[in-house]
């Protein structure tokens, strides 16, 4: 699973970081950085929740 960020949309609301700080980190410039760009299946629930709850719909997942 590969996490994809649309940087035209991301405005650093950090909802994803609150869900999983292991995968997502919002930097000083208010853009998310992926600490684990290709998280294993054990992260699936967290990633799905982040994708669903991102207020700007900036996250998606590719298989």
């Amino acid at each position: 699973m590969r996490v994809v960020v649309d940087y035209d949309l991301c405005e650093g609301n950090a909802v994803c970081e609150a869900i999983s700080g292991e995968i997502f980190q919002v930097d000083e410039d208010d853009q998310v950085r992926l600490l684990l760009p290709e998280p294993g299946p054990e992260w699936q629930t967290a990633v799905e929740e982040a994708v669903r709850r991102c207020p700007k719909q900036a996250l998606s997942v590719e298989d």
Binding site: L9, E11, V26, E28, D30, R53, P55, K56
Partner: protein, 417 residues
């Protein structure tokens, strides 16, 4: 389905002047989550009242476009063009404009305004609290967002009051206290090509022209300068685009935060145990603010227009249909929020839709509004021992904005301050 309940007429502004018809929305969510409403002018709209359905509409800008308008009012094509802002755009056009200013409103950027906001708040409270009895809307809630808007735009503080009165005339264009040109009661044909069909826009356009002329000589990093600089695609805004953008910021930048602050205080007056908890532990405020926002749902709906035949909530929609997504209803959806009519300052998670969750149009001022709300109560609560109504509240005549025009209160000051 036959509507068996006594439903309030959500097409009418007067309905909301008396109060939000929560019973009607609750009935609709349960029995007819997507419902058709006819308007006096012969048109009509779909009312989307459930949380999940609202998110579907919010996300899917290809099927539910903003480009035909975001308010109920139907605009002729020339009106729509003349008045278009980024709110009446879909991606990618919307993205291009939003990117010009969004860096000033991110969570990180907004943190830098905290000191300014606190100074402004303390000044406002120190001036008004000694009088013990005052209109909380006029004297407190209206003042802070207005002054902060002035700072963001880099205009003199003295202009703030005028800007906000103009903003109120536009957003309050359905209420006779705010404008002589009530849009559904008087002939506003003369102003049809102006934002909100409002004569206030003429004056704001002049102000914007003057501001642009002066600021172009000395571009900085403020909101106005950014609007005057080319987009990332290298395109400068036209004069009209700039003026509409400016008017949007004036209109959107003050009354919604004002009313959210007012609803927050009302909720705390109605729930004294919550007020006491917060007073004793101000660190509960960030979580409480999210509940204030859910409870207030200050922007009650936005409109989208269906671009192709679509199904939602078991109803068949046709291209061209108007759709209203009712945030005020989704924020009380029992399937999303346990005990939605319980005011719970510790509610978490609290994925309210007050700022337009999951939409490209997510409120650009969301972090600023949150911060202003937190700081107001951080400074207000320790200064007062008690606050109570000193007269009836007066609501805005609007089914669009959940507004309170006047809220007389009486305070007893805390001794230690």
């Amino acid at each position: 389905m036959a509507r068996t309940a006594e439903l309030a007429d959500i097409t009418r502004h007067d309905t909301f002047a008396a109060g939000v018809p929560h019973d009607t929305f609750r009935w609709l969510r349960r029995n007819e989550p997507v419902s058709w409403w006819e308007e006096d002018d012969g048109s009509g709209f779909w009312a989307v009242t459930r949380y999940d359905d609202l998110l579907k509409v919010s996300k899917d800008h290809a099927t539910f476009t903003s480009s035909r308008g975001i308010r109920l009012e139907e605009m002729a094509p020339d009106e729509l063009e003349a008045r278009r802002t980024l709110m009446e755009m879909d991606p990618p056009q919307h993205t291009e404009l939003r990117r010009m200013v969004n860096r000033l409103f991110t969570r990180g950027a907004v943190q830098d305004y905290e000191e300014t906001i606190r100074d402004l708040t303390v000044g406002i409270l120190d001036r008004v609290l000694p009088s013990r009895e005052f209109d909380f809307v006029e004297e407190v809630a209206r003042e802070l967002p207005m002054r902060m808007l002035g700072r963001l735009m880099g205009v003199p503080d003295a202009d703030g009051d005028w800007l906000v009165r103009m903003g109120d005339q536009m957003i309050g264009n359905t209420d006779p206290e705010f404008t002589e040109h009530v849009v559904d009661q008087t002939d506003t044909e003369e102003y049809r090509l102006l934002p909100f069909r409002s004569p206030a826009a003429v004056e704001l356009f002049d102000y914007a022209n003057e501001l642009a002329r002066e600021r172009r000589r000395n571009l900085g990093d403020d909101l106005i300068s950014r609007m005057l600089s080319p987009t990332r695609e290298g395109r400068p805004l036209s004069d009209l685009e700039f003026k509409n953008f400016f008017v949007l910021m004036v209109a959107a930048g003050n009354d919604t935060t004002r009313y959210s602050i007012v609803h927050s205080l009302q909720a705390l007056i109605d729930h004294p145990e919550a007020m006491n908890e917060l007073r004793e532990d101000l660190s509960l405020l960030p979580t409480a603010v999210e509940e204030f926002l859910r409870w207030a749902s200050t922007t009650m709906h936005f409109r989208r227009t269906v671009t192709m035949d679509a199904q939602l909530g078991g109803r068949q929609m046709s291209a061209g249909d108007k759709v209203l997504i009712w945030y005020i209803s989704a924020n009380y959806d029992e399937d999303q929020f346990p005990d939605p009519y319980t005011f719970d300052i510790t509610r978490d998670p609290n994925d309210h839709v007050t700022f337009g969750r999951n939409s490209p149009h997510l409120c650009i001022g969301a972090w600023l509004a949150r911060l202003e709300m937190r700081v107001v109560f951080e400074e207000l609560l320790p200064r007062i021992e008690q606050i109570e109504p000193a007269g009836p509240v007066e609501r805005l005549r609007s089914n669009f904005i959940n507004g309170v025009k006047h809220m007389p209160v009486r305070v007893r000051l805390a001794r230690h301050v």
